[in-house]
Symmetry: C2
Subunit: 168 residues, 2 copies
DNA sequence: ATAAACTTTCAATAATTTTTGAAAGTTTGA
DNA sequence: TCAAACTTTCAAAAATTATTGAAAGTTTAT
């Protein structure tokens, strides 16, 4: 397979994966494009490459900056802004984990804790089942939270070394 | 907080979390409802409880069965089908991990392997960057795959015991 | 102060996803 | 065999989400 075709395929696959995981398709594609680009690109180049509008490109790039996945770069003597992606895949994974933890896991943990305080007749099967479900999910979510916390601080080789060693 | 209010809040929170992770909102809500229900419910009851149509309820229930998260139950002497959810949260986590691995991770691994075979001028920075990105993602995805594989086979207490012990 | 170069905004539009509900299909018991 | 009880299908409608593009905004150089 040639590079040009491979690039298209990669961008498409990344976009699909993103959309399956609740990330805007275009955002994932822009990220893919920057990830495989050795040079920083301008908004113009990104628009052209992916056939998207200026407004879409602008908003998507801002979102990606918000996720901590890309950065702006200024070239001396130029007015244009260039964008480039962090190429370290472990950093990317950590950054995504960090943001989703903050945006999704933490709010859910907060709700679960509130729901633990539900009151009622302690003999009611409805209440018993409810409390057990909430408690169990809470426990699992707590473990996920702790593991992510470790991952956020860890070096890739240490993390996988430890995990895979345990699991032989 | 009273049970009725708590249930609503739980169903809403579960639905929101689902939609943030690429799972249909209604599907997550039906799952939530069955998860906190001590008894199996009929399509009719689910429709009423969540104010959804018969068609929607039927399709959603089929999807949930496809994900291995709920099952049909037949009550002696009744024509109606009852649905109930596995209440073991670790089983749920495993089931979701298993399905997403199969539906999403494995196809991506397949594409990444194909993309590793890209050809071209080995001095071209475009090609160098592309190959490195693909190789790095491949490695990470491979580690995730192995860890999920372990998780699928493991008991909850063993899994978290091992992971959390390593991470102190 | 002006104009060119560039970025941002956002209402309108388009695309996609979800839901509805009535009709068709199936199963069961008499 | 019939009809009641129940389930499934799917085209149309609704809801949601993403995209466009032109206008407004900003920055910089002269």
């Amino acid at each position: 397979m040639e590079l040009a075709a491979a690039k298209l395929k990669f961008i498409e696959a990344w976009g699909k994966l993103g959309s399956e995981w609740g990330i805007n398709r275009t955002m994932a594609q822009v990220h893919a494009l920057l990830l495989i680009s050795p040079e920083a690109l301008t908004t113009e180049e990104i628009m052209e490459n992916l056939s998207i509008s200026r407004g879409n490109a602008n908003m998507t790039l801002r979102d990606l900056i918000g996720w901590g996945l890309i950065e702006k770069q200024h070239k001396a003597g130029e007015r244009k802004e260039y964008f480039f992606a962090d190429k370290d895949v472990w950093n990317i994974a950590r950054q995504v984990a960090k943001e989703r933890k903050k945006r999704e896991l933490e709010p859910v943990l907060k709700v679960l804790n509130e729901l633990s305080a539900v009151t009622g007749n302690e003999k009611d099967p409805e209440l018993i089942t409810f409390k057990k479900s909430v408690a169990d999910i809470n426990k699992l979510a707590g473990n996920v939270d702790k593991t992510l916390e470790t991952m956020l601080k860890a070096e890739e080789s240490w993390f996988w070394g430890s995990v895979l060693k345990v699991f032989k």
